[in-house]
Structure formats: structure tokens, C-alpha cells
Symmetry: C4
Subunit: 267 residues, 4 copies
């Protein structure tokens, strides 16, 4: 009976992949609680709201933590039902150090460590990562898989794009630093400071907190900004061809390829 209960709880906590009613309800409740926790973390930072509803926020946080703690302990108990955590002690230790369990633990720990004087509120936002499980479920699964496989198949090109971007930032920042440092020693104070400017320019954010004033600096900036257009174009082009590839592959899987010579199907 103990084993059966354990297995029942295991099924309840597992993401609802099959159409089991109770699994789904528990899953939706937990997702909703996580969602509300994220909203709470966000609006708690608005002082006016927090000061008015301090009590409610604290009560909600307390209840949430108790539920998440219960969930964590239950998961730790029943995790041995999974093959990779099946060893009673070692399996559970392995589970504790799995990514999803660590995120779960980090999200509840700050509550039990009130004596720490550093601000651990940020940790609660980690619950967002739990919320991201939604991508794995239901209707977005196909789209998630598609985007993931596009990124995967074009990984090397995208990493190369990042390397090129970083190289360009270093070179451009060095040149603009030597061009602008004399004219604006407080703004272009060092190459790292210039790199900040370079990123905001190359990505075309352009806050306007720091911009070149010397002719040579402006010409370099113009070149960098137009290169920036190309930078935009590169990942767009890579991903566009990646999506085309992926869609084509899927269509080809659907359409049956029949050899015109012998009439048999080819996989």
C-alpha cells in the first residue's frame, strides 16, 4: 500500500502527459501558484503597493513556501520511481543535484534562512524557470521542438556569429577609445567603458548617454553602425534558412517518396 501511494503521488506530480484528470488539476494548480508567485515578486518591488498590502504578500509567500516545500519533499520521496534515481539513497542524492530539483530548492531556501543579511529576494524569481515547463507541454510542444531543432542545427553558425560580434566589439572599441578618449575623457574613460558604448551602438539601442564627438570617432561609428545592419542580417539569414530546412524536412517526411524505377517507397 505504501508503494502504491508513492507511485500514485509520483504520477500526480509528473507533468500531465496523458489525459489523467487529477494529474492535470494538480499540474494546473502548481502552475497557477508559480505564476502568482512571479506576479507577487514583480509587484512587491513597487513600494507603494507593498507597503499597503504587506500582510497579504507575507501570508501568500508563507503559504506558497509551505506548498512548495511539501511538493519538494514529496518529489524527493517518490523520485525513486524513475529509473535513473531508483537507488534509495544515491538516487535521491542524485535527484537533489539535478537541475530542476536545485531550482526548486533555491526557490524555497531563502525563506528558511532569514538570518542571512543579503537580499535573497531575487532567488524567488527563479520560480520562473519552473514556469518555463509550460513550453514542454501541450500545444506549444511542436513549435518549441521546431525552434530548438533550428537552433541546434545552426548552432555552429550562431556561435561563429557571436565570436565575430565579440571580435568586432573589441576591435571597434579599441579604435574608438583612442579616437575619443582625449575629447571626452570622462565618458570614453577606458576600453571597457567604450565597449559598453559599442554594444549599445552595434545593437542600435543608442541610449544617448555616450556618443562620439570627434570627426574620426563619428566616421568609425558610422562604419560600425552600418556593419551593425549586417550583424542583424546574419542571424536572421541563418535562422530563416534553418526554418526553411526544417519545414522542408517535415514535409518530405509526410510526402511518400516513391522510386520511379521500381515503385517502392523510399524512407
Amino acid at each position: 500500500m505504501y508503494k502504491k501511494l508513492k507511485y500514485q503521488i509520483y504520477l500526480l506530480l509528473d507533468p500531465a502527459q496523458e489525459d489523467r484528470r487529477w494529474e492535470k488539476i494538480i499540474d494546473y494548480l502548481l502552475e497557477t501558484l508559480i505564476f502568482l508567485n512571479i506576479i507577487a515578486v514583480i509587484i512587491e518591488t513597487v513600494d507603494a503597493i507593498y507597503n499597503s498590502y504587506k500582510l497579504y504578500f507575507n501570508v501568500f509567500e508563507k503559504i506558497s513556501v509551505y506548498i512548495f516545500t511539501l511538493e519538494y519533499l514529496l518529489r524527493l520521496w517518490v523520485c525513486t520511481n524513475e529509473v535513473k534515481y531508483s537507488a534509495p539513497v544515491l538516487g535521491r542524492i542524485k535527484y537533489i543535484f539535478s537541475l530542476s530539483a536545485l531550482v526548486d530548492l533555491l526557490a524555497i531556501m531563502p525563506f528558511y534562512l532569514p538570518f542571512t543579511n543579503i537580499d535573497l529576494r531575487i532567488v524567488r524569481i527563479l520560480r520562473l524557470f519552473r514556469f518555463l515547463r509550460i513550453f514542454k507541454l501541450g500545444r506549444y510542444l511542436n513549435a518549441t521542438k521546431l525552434i530548438a531543432s533550428v537552433f541546434k542545427s545552426k548552432k555552429e553558425e550562431l556561435i561563429l556569429f557571436l565570436l565575430i560580434t565579440i571580435s568586432l566589439i573589441i576591435v571597434a572599441s579599441s579604435f574608438v577609445y583612442f579616437a575619443e578618449n582625449q575629447a571626452q575623457p570622462d565618458k570614453y574613460s577606458s576600453i571597457p567603458a567604450t565597449m559598453w558604448w559599442c554594444v549599445t551602438t552595434l545593437t542600435t539601442v543608442g541610449y544617448g548617454d555616450i556618443f562620439p564627438i570627434t570627426p574620426i570617432g563619428k566616421i568609425l561609428t558610422a562604419v560600425i553602425a552600418i556593419l551593425g545592419l549586417g550583424m542583424f542580417a546574419l542571424p536572421a539569414g541563418i535562422l530563416a534558412s534553418g526554418f526553411s530546412d526544417e519545414f522542408q524536412k517535415r514535409r518530405q517526411h509526410k510526402e511518400k517518396n516513391i522510386c520511379p524505377h521500381c515503385g517502392k517507397e523510399i524512407e
Copy 2:
């Protein structure tokens, strides 16, 4: 005769899909009136112009509303010619609550409710939505259908893109808030305030009203902004492959691939 008149008016008010002269003229006149109304709403807000030509604006508005009211009542009268509104009473009630009729009503109602003390001028801009009917007609119909079907076929990927964007905004805002709040408590005053900054950065608008000044905040921003490049690339890639798909489909429909020499079809 009553029925015939009713049917005649119904044909006149219906979008000119066939080459009937009077339908077209009425349609063009109404479109022009709507267009002029939009222009009027826009330039009325320029105080210098409004104060000089107040009388003309008011007269024009009065005439417009009378015409739109007449049109609304006529449409309400003749709508029973359409199959789905054919029931004399229920059909008309159904018509009143149809989207296009509601927009029509909302656009004229403010005029008849002068005793309301809230500003209802914005409602008149709703006439723009009537103007959007132009997309359904004539030469842009093909392009509209194309873009609509691309968005439809890639709907899931685009929604997923939005979900990823929103998740990124929440996570990034939380981290930057904890990094910058101490240094700039008036600007990064809360996570919602930081989310405003995050949107303007991720979309590379970068007004410059709020930007990070701490090293950790700047590094996080650099990462976010470069991720922003990828964000741009994602919908561009999705839509590009969507358009390619759609064009290919259309071509395949057209071409039957018949050999001009032997007349047989080629796959």
C-alpha cells in the same frame, strides 16, 4: 416594390465586389468620407488649427455623423437580406452586435451623448477600422490573403516567440532591477519600472530616459541587447520561411508541369 428597394439599397451598401457602377461610387464616397474623418480627427488635435477652423470642423463632423447615422439605419434595415441575419427581429439584433456594426455604432454614438463629461473623441478614431475594409477589396486582396495565411500557418511559432520574449523580459528585468536599484533608486524603482526599460532595450528603441550605470547592470544589458539581435532574427526567420512556403505552394498549384513536346504530365 418595398422589397426591391430594400434589396437595391442592400446591393448599394455592400462592398463593390462586382463591377456595378453605383455600388462602386457609393463605396468610394463612403471610403472618402471615412478618410476625411480620420484626417479631421488627427488635425483637430492641433490647437492652432482647431481654434482657427472650429466652425468648419464642427459642421463637417455634424454632416459626417448624419451620413453615418443614415448609413447605419439603412444597413440595419436591409441586413435581413443576408442569410445569417434573415430573421426580422433576431437577425437585426444579431447584426447590431456584429463587430462591424458595433464599430459603426461606436463611431457615431459620442455625438449623440454630449452630456457625457469624459473625452470620447478617441472613439471617432475607430472609424479607421472601417477604413481597413479597403484591405479586403480590389488589388490588395491577394497580398492581404498571403500575409494572413503566412501569419496563420506560423501562428504557433510566433506565439512561442512572444512567450519567450515575455519570459526574457521578466527574468532580465528582475536581475537588472536587483543590480541597478541601489545605484538609481529613482529610475529602477521597481521591477515593473525595470520592465519598461527592458522593453525599450530589447526592441532597441533606447530612448535614453533610463539606462544602467553599474558595471553588472551594463554587462547584463549588453547580454540582453545582443540577445535582442536574436529576437529580431527569430520572427524574421519564421516569416521568411513562411513566405517561401506559401509562394512555393501557389506555384505548385499553378504549374501542372506538362511537357510541351509529348503532352504528358511530369512530376
Copy 3:
């Protein structure tokens, strides 16, 4: 002999499509003169440079205008060699009102109208359009044709994109105007003023001269800016599929299509 000279001059002035040495030299000289004129117009506006080298600029301008005037008159004389301008009088009048001749005339006229007290210097920049002939020649002809045919084949989609953009700007500006006008009456003073803000936001330029401060204005802006991402993606997607189409078409022209049934080539 008169006719032969006229034909010779006609050949000389005609864009060097064949490998005739003199044609090419004249063409290069004229292109260079136009290029130098553009540079002169640009750097003349720098007061420090203009005041130091006033004399040189004026002499250069005088010589340029004399040469362009001579060229204009010669072209007017020999234009009858072209079929469409072959009528001695009517053909020349037709030529005068052709676009390229009008640009040529506008570029020299300000010089002969010194008594006009309005600033006609801008007109000289029109010579740039003459310079654009370079796109028609030599090595970039293929690329120019390609880009032109892509824009042509996707014309409807791009116009529709513009219509959507304009509609979005009108609707967004109206809503943000009513949201921000009370809070910043000097900046969001009217819908046209808000449209200026809207364009700089939607295109992600974001100068920072005008930005929303009310919560509702900020939320609307966030929505607009994220829609702006989609706006970017739309023409990119359209053009990407357009280029793919065009390249595929060209490749198919090259590869000979042979019917598998009768072995004959299909065009």
C-alpha cells in the same frame, strides 16, 4: 557629314554599353565630374572650408556648369537619333520633358537664375541622380536587375506592409495621444506630434526627445515596440523569399529541363 558628326556625338554621350574607347572615356570623365560636384556641394556647406576656398569652389562650379550646359545642348541636338525622339521639333520637346533631361536641366538652371532670392543650392544635389546611372552600367547591372525584379515581384506585399504600418501609426498615435496628452501637454501636444514619436519608436530609432511617462502610455509603447519587431520581420521575410524565388528561377533557366518521357528540352 553633319549627320555623321551628330551620330558620332550621340554615340559618345550614350552610356558605354559596348567596348568603345572614346565613349567610355567621356562617360568616365562625366561621372567623375558629377562625383566631384556632389563632393563639392557637400563640403561647401562646412562654413570653415567654404570661407577658406570660396574662390576655388566658385571657379569649379562655373566650369562644371559650362560643361553640363554644353552636354545638355549637345544631347538636345543629337537626341533625334533615338527612335522615340526622332521628330525634329516634337521629339526634342518630348526629350526636354523626359525625366533624365529635366534632372539635367534642373541641375544647371540655378546658375543662370542668380536673381532668384531663394536658396537653390539644394537643386545641385540633384546631380546625384545623374550619378545613379552608374547602377545601370557594368558590373552592378546584374545585381541591380536582381534587386529591382525582387522588389517588382513583391511590390503588392511591400505596399501592403506600408499600408499596415501607416494604419498602425495612426491608431497607435491616437491612443497614446489620449493617454499622454494630459501628462505632457507640451510634447504630446497633438496627434501629428504623437505620430512623430510613433514613427521614431516603431522604427526603433528612439531619439529620446519625446517618450511616454504615464503607465498606460508605457504599456501601449511596449506593445507598439514589440509589434515593431514584427514590422521589421515582415519586409525581411518578404524580401528573403523574393530573393530565394529569383535565384531559383535563374538556376532553373540555366539547368536544362529535359522531359523524362520524350527526352526533349522544355523551356
Copy 4:
């Protein structure tokens, strides 16, 4: 024995294309030293850090230069092993003036020319170009080749894009200059100054240091900014189709399309 040593050193210094252990170790050591040098150049410019660790930076620089000098001399000695530099004297002179050797020389020379009173620190950043050799090696070779071949095959279109961009900048700057010069003579002081504004607008950087205030200037800017959207789209579209082409070519090379049932090739 001398020849053998020379050949051994040549192999050691050559980028590790084969799996030779010592080559690889030397290569990694040199890459690491270059990487550390780049980091040093960057953080040396932060005065606070430089002043605290001046001694360490100088010692590190000295050691680096000695190693790079040794490497340079060794390379100069053994370069005759390569076919194109095989002539003992002329080959070495030819090697000295090769791009990679010049970069190597420029990166160490400033150290031996301390009597120069101009700032030669920037030259040290040239070592970055040496670091770029990483793109030629190992895992990113494929992606580098791919991106390079895409840029190569679409070179003409990209150059044309640049020509169009430059033309647009010149025309737009001239018009906006004449529109804004009267209203803001200090900001839109000349066409070159306006070109700076135009580049930051067209690339959507929009620092906000300079923006139009006249109605005509704002309308022109709106047109330019929306054209800017198209500018973005053009290279994205070109590169997207370029990547698609390239991937398709590669796939066609791989697949020989043989029917698994009858063994015949299918076109």
C-alpha cells in the same frame, strides 16, 4: 641536423592541422598569450586598475614581447620551408611583407620604439587579428567557410546594398540639411554634420544628440526611418537566400539519391 631542427620548428609553429601533440600545445600556449595580451590592453586603459598593478602589466608586456619577438624571428628563419618563401633571401623579404608577418611585426615594434612620443598602444590591439586565426581552426572551420562562401556568392548584391545606402544617406542628408539648418544652425551645421545624424537614424541607433525639430524635417525623417526598415530587410533577405542556397548545394552534394530497393540513382 640544422635542417631537421628548422623543419621541426616550422612544424611546431604551423597551425595544428594534424593531431600532433607538441604543435597543438605550442599553438594553445601562443593563443592563450595573445588572448591574455588582448585582455591586458583592454583593462590597462582602466586607470584605477592600471595604477594599482602597473608593475605587473609592465612585466607581463615585457615577457610577452620577448616571446613574440622570439616567435617572429623563428618564423622568419623557418619560413623558407614553405614553397612560396623558399628563396633564402627574397623569400624571407616576401614573408616580411606578408600580411600576417606585418601584423606580427607591428604588434611588437612599439615596444622597441619607446622614443616615439605618439601613443602606440593601439597597435598592440592588432594582436587581436592574430587571435582571429582561431576561426581557421578546428570546429568553427565549417561554419567560417559557410559564412565566407555566402558573403562571396552574394558579394555584388551586398556591395549594391552599400551603394544604395550611401546614395540614400547623401540625398537624405542634403534635403534634411536645407530643412533644418535654419532652425538648428549649431546642430545641422553642414551636410557632413547632417550625414552623421542620417547614419544614426537610418541604422536606428538614434542617440538623441541631434534630431529634427521643423515639421518638414520630421516628415523627411519619418520617410527615411521607414526606408531604414527596408534597408534592414535587404541584407537580411539577401543573406537568408544565400544561406538557403548554400545549404541546398551541400545537401545535394551529399545525397546521391539512390533508391534503396533497386540501387538505381534518382534525379
